[in-house]
Amino acid sequence: MNESTVNKNLNNTNNPLDYVGVQQADFDIANEYQLMREGNQQDGAIVFFTGLVRDFNQGNDVTGLFLEHYPGMTEKALQSIVDTAKARWPINRVRVIHRIGQLYLSDQIVYVAVSGKHREASFDACRFIMDYLKNQAPFWKKETTKQGDVWVTALEKDKTAMEKWDKNQQK
């Protein structure tokens, strides 16, 4: 039995509005926010993050990027990260969307939303999901730049950001 399955079996806090999606299509924040709020009177805090294609990265002027992924594993990795967050913090709804394929400047890439009774857990869980996604979900960015197409390099700071969560748990 792999780790993802173990997490899923242990986790009895799944919400029917939880969602993990990998898609080419854009997503609509107004609609997504509505899905966090509707019929939800118990949560006092919603934190969300969106990642966008920005115009300058790793020394290059960027005009777009292509997002390659490992079909099947991406969804599984994201679900495992969400399960881990839900086991660690008292949170309620979690929604994660990651886009794939050709994207352009200012396009939305990724969305993570977490709701909970209190802001501390919602902030922690949202950031935890992004930090793990950056290191464990099999997506690869190839940027279109004026200097040609360039594979984005994984950064040490993203690994450090993930590893900090281990230290925190041991406190």
Partner: protein, 82 residues
Amino acid sequence: MITVIFFAQLREQLQSDKVDLVIETPCSIAAIQANIVASHPSWSGFIEGRTLLAAVNQTMVTTDHMVNTGDEVAFFPPVTGG
């Protein structure tokens, strides 16, 4: 037989999206790397690269992980999504 699939920059470097190996199972990821390099010596710098990641059945594993017949094995560079 084990099929190993490649992604992203690794696939471009190898100019190949997968390779079929004749290898005794169960065998470790490290043994699979050695087997690939034995038949493709020019791939050594990529397949045995320090930053190579491996997944078995769509879960990341370390090089001592044991692979069985029928397992889905993938090699790829560090991920850069988000």
